[in-house]
C-alpha cells in the first residue's frame, strides 16, 4: 500500500538520443546483432566509447540464453549499473524510470536503455509456446492462437460490455496508418481504408488482420543521463515529469476491462502537476486497438466505457485534435519484440526534440507515453506510463 508520501521529481535527469534500427520483417541475424546495432548508433552519435557507458538496461525476448550480464562481455561494456527488463510492452518506461533514479542517485552517469529482438521464421511460434508457465499450462494448448486469441476474448468482452464496434477500432487503426505513411521503415506502407479494415480476414473473432501487429526484427534505444551530461554530449534532452508502474492490478476483475493505470492515474497527473488536457499528443501501447482504447479511459482522457465515444469525437492523426501514436505505432510500423515497448517512448522523444522520422506534431511540448505488457495467462499484467516534456 502507498504511504501517500509525495514522490521525488526527476529534476536534473533527461532522456536523450532516441535510436531506432530500421525494422525488418524477418532477420537471419540474432538479437545480439540488433542490440549491438543500437548500442553502436548511440556511441557513434554521442562520440562515446563503449566503456563510457556505465549503466546498461536491456530488454529482449530472443537474446537467450544470455542475460544482461553476458551481454556486457559481448559488447565490451563495463557498467557499474546493470538491469535486465524483459517486460515486453512495459520495458521502455520501466527502463526509463529505473535509469533516471540511478542517475539521480549517482549510481550511474550514462545509462543506455536498449530493446531489441530478432525475428527468425520460427521465432514467433517458439516465443508463444514458452511465453510463461501459465501460457504453457492453460492457454497455448487451447488452439495455440497466441496473443491474438487472448486479446480476442478481451476485445469480445469489452465490446459486449461497453458497446464498442469494430468501426471504432478501425478509426484508431486507420489514423495510425496515416501517421505511419511518412515512416520509411514501417512494415505497412499503404493507406488503410475502412473497407479493407472491415473486410480483412478474421484471425480470432472479433480480431481481424488489421487489429494485429506484424512481428518483425528491430531495435530501439535511448540514453538517460544528467542534463549537463546531455549538453556535453551535444544531445537535446527530454524531461521526465512523472512516471507510474504497476503489475497484476485488479486480479479479481473476471476479465480485463482496465489496466493498472486506473489505479495510478491520479498520481501520474499530480506528480506532473498537469491534467489530461495539458498534453499535446499521446502514445499508447497498441498491440491491439482495444488496449489503446482502455488506456485512453484509464489514463483519464475519458471515463470507463467512453473510449469508443472519445475515439468517434476526435481526429487521431498528427494534424488532428488528439494526435495519437504519431509514428503509426506497432500496428503500422511492426512489433519488434520487446522493442515494441520502446517504440512510443523513442518516438515521443523525437517529437519533443523536433527530430521526427515522419511528420511533426505541431506545438509538441508535453506528451503522455504508456506501456502495457505480458499476457501471462488471461490478461496483460504490466502497465506503466510517463509524462514527458520538451526541455526549456
Amino acid at each position: 500500500m502507498r504511504s501517500g508520501a509525495t514522490r521525488r521529481s526527476y529534476d536534473g535527469v533527461v532522456a536523450c538520443l532516441p535510436v531506432t534500427i530500421p525494422y525488418r520483417r524477418y532477420s537471419t541475424n540474432s538479437a545480439h546483432w540488433w542490440i549491438g546495432r543500437a548500442l553502436h548508433e548511440i556511441t557513434k552519435r554521442a562520440r562515446l566509447r563503449p566503456q563510457d557507458i556505465d549503466g546498461f538496461a536491456v530488454s529482449s525476448f530472443t537474446v537467450g540464453p544470455d542475460t544482461a550480464v553476458g551481454l556486457t562481455q559481448h559488447y565490451g561494456l563495463s557498467p557499474r549499473w546493470l538491469d535486465h527488463i524483459p517486460f515486453g510492452g512495459a520495458s521502455g518506461i520501466v527502463a526509463l524510470r529505473r535509469a533516471a533514479r540511478a542517475v539521480q542517485a549517482g549510481d550511474a552517469e550514462i545509462v543506455a536503455c536498449v530493446a531489441g529482438d530478432t525475428n527468425h521464421v520460427e521465432s514467433f511460434r517458439k516465443t508463444l509456446s514458452t511465453f510463461s508457465r501459465f501460457a504453457q499450462d492453460a492457454v497455448y494448448p487451447y488452439g495455440a492462437g497466441g496473443a491474438n486469441a487472448s486479446f480476442a476474448l478481451i476485445t469480445k468482452n469489452y465490446m459486449n460490455t461497453y458497446g464498442a464496434k469494430r468501426e471504432d477500432f478501425a478509426k484508431l487503426c486507420i489514423a495510425q496508418r496515416d501517421n505511419a505513411l511518412s515512416i520509411p521503415h514501417a512494415m505497412m506502407k499503404k493507406e488503410l481504408t475502412i473497407d479493407e479494415y472491415m473486410s480483412a480476414r478474421p484471425i480470432a473473432d472479433p480480431i481481424h488482420l488489421f487489429d494485429c501487429v506484424m512481428p518483425c526484427a528491430g531495435a530501439e534505444a535511448l540514453l538517460v543521463c544528467g542534463e549537463d551530461t546531455a549538453k556535453s554530449l551535444d544531445q537535446a534532452g527530454v524531461r521526465i515529469l512523472s512516471t507510474v508502474e504497476r503489475h497484476n492490478a485488479f486480479p479479481t476483475d473476471p476479465m480485463q476491462v482496465r489496466g493498472g493505470w486506473a489505479l495510478d492515474v491520479d498520481e501520474l497527473w499530480s506528480m506532473a502537476g498537469l491534467t489530461s488536457r495539458d498534453v499535446d499528443f499521446v502514445q499508447t501501447y497498441d498491440d491491439y486497438p482495444v488496449i489503446s482504447m482502455m488506456q485512453l479511459e484509464d489514463l483519464g482522457f475519458c471515463a470507463k466505457g467512453e473510449g469508443p465515444d472519445f475515439v468517434r469525437s476526435h481526429t487521431l492523426t498528427n494534424d488532428g485534435t488528439f494526435p495519437h501514436n504519431t509514428s503509426g505505432g506497432q500496428l503500422s510500423v511492426g512489433q519488434a519484440g520487446a522493442a515494441g515497448g520502446f517504440l512510443g517512448l523513442v518516438e515521443a522523444m523525437r517529437q519533443l526534440t523536433s527530430q521526427p522520422l515522419g511528420s511533426q506534431v505541431p506545438d509538441a511540448d508535453v506528451c503522455l507515453v504508456s506501456g502495457f505488457g505480458m499476457i501471462n495467462y488471461d490478461r496483460g499484467l504490466s502497465s506503466c506510463a510517463a509524462i514527458l516534456a520538451r526541455a526549456v
Binding site: R125, A138, P141, A149, N160
Partner: protein
C-alpha cells in the same frame, strides 16, 4: 444443436492417410494434477487448505495467502461462458488443420477464470459445465459443455477429438470365448460400433455362448489366438487397417500363490496368455493404430487393457495371477508412451473378482461381465485412461492411496 455424425463412407484405398498430429502437450509438473483428474474423469482443481481459495491455473503458492498446501480436490464445475472467440489462425500444425476452433473464458462459480475449449452447444453468456479431458497429447484440457445434455452432443467434433466413442468405429475383441468377451461384443454392438471383430482361437472347438454371440448385430467372428504370434500377425494383416479400438479380453485366471503352487507350468501359461499375448497384440496392432490416429471420423483411438485390480497390490490367494497382471500393467504404461504420438489412448480398466467360473470360491461383491463391458464403453465415451470397476476395485484404489503397507498386510488375510 450438434449435427449427428454420418456413418463414414468406405475409405478410398488410393487416398493418402492423414498423419496424426498432437496439440501442445508440455505441462508443468504441478499442472499434471489436472491430468490425473482427467484420466479418471474427475473435475479437480487446487484448493488451498489454509484459506479455501480455489486456484487455476495450477500454482505452487496460493495467490490469496501464499500457502503451499494446495492439493487437487474435486470442485464444482459449473460457471458462465463470458466470452468466446473462434481461432482461425494458429501457430500449431495440429490446430491449423482443425480451424476454425472455438475457445472461451469461463467464470467458474467456484471462483477462478478458465480458458477452455468449447463444445458446439456451449453458448456465449450461457451457463456451462466444465470437464477435464485428455486431449490427443495425453495432457489435460478444460472443455465447456452446455449446462444440460443436448441431442447428439457426443458427436460434437471438439468433444469427439478428446473421446474414444465406439460409435461408427470398428472394434476387435481379442477373445470371444469368455463371458467377458461375449458381454464386450454385445456392449460395443449396442454402442453403435460399425463392426465388432470377435477373435476365437481354435474355432472348431465348441464353446458356450457361441450361438448368442453369432446373433449379436455386426459381430464378425475371426480366427485369433493371442498365444500364437502367427495368428495375431495374420489377423492384423487381414483387418488391422480397419480396427479402431482393440479390447484385450484374453484371460487366464488360476488360484494359487508363488510359494504354494508347485512348478512353473501354470505361471508360464499365465504369462503366455496375458503378458506375451499383450506384447503380440501390441506389436501387431500398435503400429497401425498409431499410424491411423487422425484417419477421419473412424480414426484409431484406443487400446483397452482389462486388468485385475490386484495388478496394483498382490492378492496372495491368486498371487501368481496378480504378478502376471502387474506385468501387464507395466507394459500398458509403456504402450501409452508409445501410442501417444498417434493420439491413441491406452485405457486401463481395473476390476475386482468377476462373476465367472474361475472366481467360483470367492465371496461377493463380484463384477458381472456385463457390468465390466458397459464400464469399458462408458470410459471410452468419456475418453478416460484409468477406470475402477466394482466395489472391490474401488476399495483397493482408496486403501492404496491411504496406506499401501496396510493394504499389503491385509491382503494376506
Amino acid at each position: 444443436m450438434t449435427q449427428p455424425l454420418v456413418r463414414p463412407k468406405r475409405k478410398n484405398p488410393l487416398a493418402r492417410t492423414q498423419l496424426p498430429l498432437t496439440p501442445p502437450g508440455v505441462r508443468s509438473r504441478t499442472a499434471h494434477g489436472l491430468t490425473a483428474a482427467a484420466a479418471e474423469g474427475r473435475f479437480a482443481l487446487q484448493v488451498c487448505l489454509d484459506c479455501n481459495t480455489v486456484i487455476y491455473p495450477p500454482r505452487d503458492a496460493c495467490p490469496s495467502c501464499l500457502s503451499a498446501r494446495l492439493p487437487f480436490r474435486d470442485v464444482d464445475r459449473e460457471g458462465v461462458l463470458i466470452a468466446e472467440t473462434i481461432v482461425h489462425t494458429s501457430t500449431e500444425p495440429y490446430f491449423r488443420e482443425r480451424t476454425p476452433w472455438r475457445v472461451g473464458t469461463v467464470k467458474l462459480d467456484a471462483g477462478p477464470m478458465v480458458v477452455a475449449h468449447l463444445h458446439g452447444d456451449a453458448a456465449e453468456g450461457a451457463r456451462v459445465r466444465l470437464e477435464l479431458k485428455l486431449d490427443k497429447s495425453g495432457a489435460a484440457v478444460a472443455l465447456a459443455l452446455p449446462e444440460r445434455d443436448t441431442e447428439s452432443m457426443a458427436d460434437d467434433p471438439h468433444l469427439r477429438e478428446m473421446t474414444c466413442d465406439p460409435k461408427f468405429r470398428r472394434v476387435l475383441i481379442t477373445d470371444g470365448r469368455t463371458p467377458v468377451g461375449q458381454a464386450m461384443a454385445k456392449a460395443f454392438s449396442d454402442a453403435g460400433a460399425s463392426i465388432v471383430f470377435t477373435g476365437i482361437a481354435d474355432p472348431w472347438k465348441p464353446f458356450p455362448g457361441l450361438d448368442s454371440l453369432r446373433k449379436i448385430e455386426r459381430v464378425e467372428i475371426v480366427p485369433l489366438d493371442v498365444t500364437d504370434t502367427e495368428s495375431v500377425t495374420e489377423q492384423a494383416e487381414q483387418n488391422g487397417a480397419r480396427i479402431d479400438i482393440v479390447v484385450n479380453t484374453a484371460e487366464h485366471v488360476r488360484a494359487g500363490g508363488v510359494v504354494h503352487r508347485r512348478g512353473l507350468t501354470i505361471a508360464r501359461e499365465e504369462m503366455d496368455v496375458r503378458y506375451l499375448g499383450l506384447l503380440r497384440l501390441a506389436q501387431a496392432f500398435g503400429p497401425i493404430l498409431r499410424f491411423r490416429g487422425a484417419d477421419g471420423v473412424n480414426s484409431a483411438v484406443a487400446f483397452v487393457n482389462l486388468l485385475s485390480v490386484h495388478a496394483l497390490m498382490n492378492w496372495p490367494a491368486y498371487g501368481s495371477y496378480s504378478a502376471t497382471e502387474a506385468a501387464c500393467l507395466s507394459a500398458a504404461q509403456c504402450m501409452r508412451a508409445e501410442l501417444r504420438p498417434g493420439g491413441v489412448k491406452v485405457l486401463n480398466v481395473f476390476f475386482g473378482p468377476l462373476e465367472t467360473e474361475w472366481f467360483q470360491t470367492v465371496p461377493p461383491p463380484k463384477v458381472a461381465p456385463e457390468t465390466l463391458a458397459n464400464a469399458v464403453v462408458r470410459a471410452l465415451r468419456q475418453g478416460l485412461e484409468d477406470v475402477f470397476v466394482g466395489d472391490v476395485a474401488e476399495d483397493i484404489r482408496q486403501r492404496l492411496a491411504i496406506n499401501p503397507k496396510a493394504l499389503e498386510r491385509e491382503m494376506a488375510g
